[in-house]
């Protein structure tokens, strides 16, 4: 069976093999130095060399961090990320997140740990949130948006669907058959009837007095027996 070879694979294989040979050679060459380094007399010198090495490593790390920041801040990286997001990568990630139910798992873990509550409470109680909410509520744009939503046909359709839904019917049945609601309605109706009757009584009482005073005035007959 014939295997297809590519030139770059051959070059890569040669480079790896050459590196291994180089490493083995270096180990053999450095063997006397390693033996000398293990000698007790070499401690002071080795410490100085180690300190020098540590300083070099820290310097290299700082350099790497600065370079990484420069790279991340560059417009090229922005363009690369933009191209990546515009491509299939985003769809793949979204599909993967949905397939493995990542959001649901994270949310359930956060809810179970109480982190979500704490984060939400902190966000809601934050001064900036309140300020933001005030600004949104005071903005004419938000008002226009609300008016548009209220006037929209979609809202009417949505309301109709909700009103005609079986759940709404069930809820209404539950409310109407609830003894508490019935009692409250009866009390309210009775209260209104009582209020109306009291109003009628007050007015007729006034008419009683006025009519009696008028007729007695005509007859010049003062009222007696008032208690």
């Amino acid at each position: 069976m014939e295997t297809a070879r590519e030139s770059r694979d051959v070059i890569l294989g040669l480079a790896v093999a050459g590196s291994r040979v180089g490493l083995a050679t270096a180990r053999v060459v450095l063997l006397p130095a390693r033996i000398v380094a293990r000698a007790p007399a070499m401690d002071g010198a080795l410490n100085r060399v180690a300190a020098q090495g540590k300083r070099t490593r820290d310097e290299a790390r700082r350099l790497a961090e600065a370079t990484a920041q420069d790279v991340l801040a560059s417009p090229e990286v922005g363009r690369v990320i933009d191209r990546a997001l515009a491509g299939r990568l985003t769809d793949s990630i979204a599909a993967s997140l949905a397939e493995h139910r990542v959001v649901e798992r994270v949310a359930s873990q956060m809810a179970a740990s109480g982190e979500l509550d704490r984060a939400l409470t902190a966000a809601l109680e934050h001064e900036i949130t309140q300020q933001l909410a005030d600004e949104i509520l005071a903005s004419p744009g938000f008002e226009r948006l609300l008016v548009q939503v209220i006037d929209s046909r979609l809202l009417m359709q949505l309301t109709d669907r909700v009103l005609l839904s079986a759940e709404m019917q069930r809820m209404l049945d539950h409310l109407v058959s609830s003894p508490e609601v019935r009692r409250a309605l009866a009390e309210q109706t009775q209260g209104m009837a009582e209020e109306m009757a009291a109003g009628v009584r007050r007015r007729t009482g006034t008419i009683d007095d006025v009519a009696e005073r008028t007729v007695r005035g005509w007859l010049r007959r003062p009222r007696a027996g008032v208690q």
Binding site: A211, E212, Q227
Partner: protein, 165 residues
């Protein structure tokens, strides 16, 4: 400053109470008549003139019975109850059956001459109408104490046919 409240019910309050009672009693008669008419139509009963007169008599009996029953038992018809009124004899208690019957007759007599029988309410110190003079009763507010004047003047009030003024 508000004038002291008179414990006797005035003409407008009594008129509203009476109107409500007539409405309730007529509803009662209407329902009864409806049921009887339905039964009559099912058995093929034809209402002759005699039966119509009898029906009118039944209407009057039911109406009178309504007032007599409530006056003699609780002293309050439903209409009077809504207006917080009650009818009482000189002892403060509801009139007995006989007085209630006399009062119903007095009511009819007061209504026939275009309600002229109620005019004495406007001039009498105890706001009594013709029916009250006939039955020896007064109409007082149910939520007010019964006037002591009545108790002290039992002999006068108890006279069923006293002077109208």
């Amino acid at each position: 400053m508000n004038a002291p409240r008179v414990p006797y019910a005035g003409i407008a309050t009594r008129a509203v109470g009476l109107a409500l009672d007539v409405l309730f009693a007529d509803l009662l008669v209407l329902v009864t008549a409806g049921v009887l008419a339905l039964v009559g139509s099912l058995v093929g009963l034809d209402l002759s003139t005699g039966l119509k007169v009898a029906a009118a008599g039944v209407w009057f009996v039911i109406l009178a019975g309504y007032f007599v029953f409530f006056w003699s038992t609780t002293g309050q018809t439903p209409g009077m109850r809504l207006m917080r009124l009650r009818v009482a004899g000189s002892d403060g208690r509801p009139p007995n059956f006989g007085r209630a019957v006399v009062r119903v007759i007095g009511l009819a007599v007061s209504i026939i001459p275009l309600f002229a029988g109620f005019l004495p309410v406007l001039v009498d110190d105890r706001r009594r109408g013709l029916l009250d003079f006939l039955a020896g009763t007064v109409v007082v507010y149910a939520d007010a104490p019964f006037p002591e004047l009545e108790r002290a003047d039992v002999a006068v009030v108890a006279e069923p046919l006293g002077p109208p003024v």
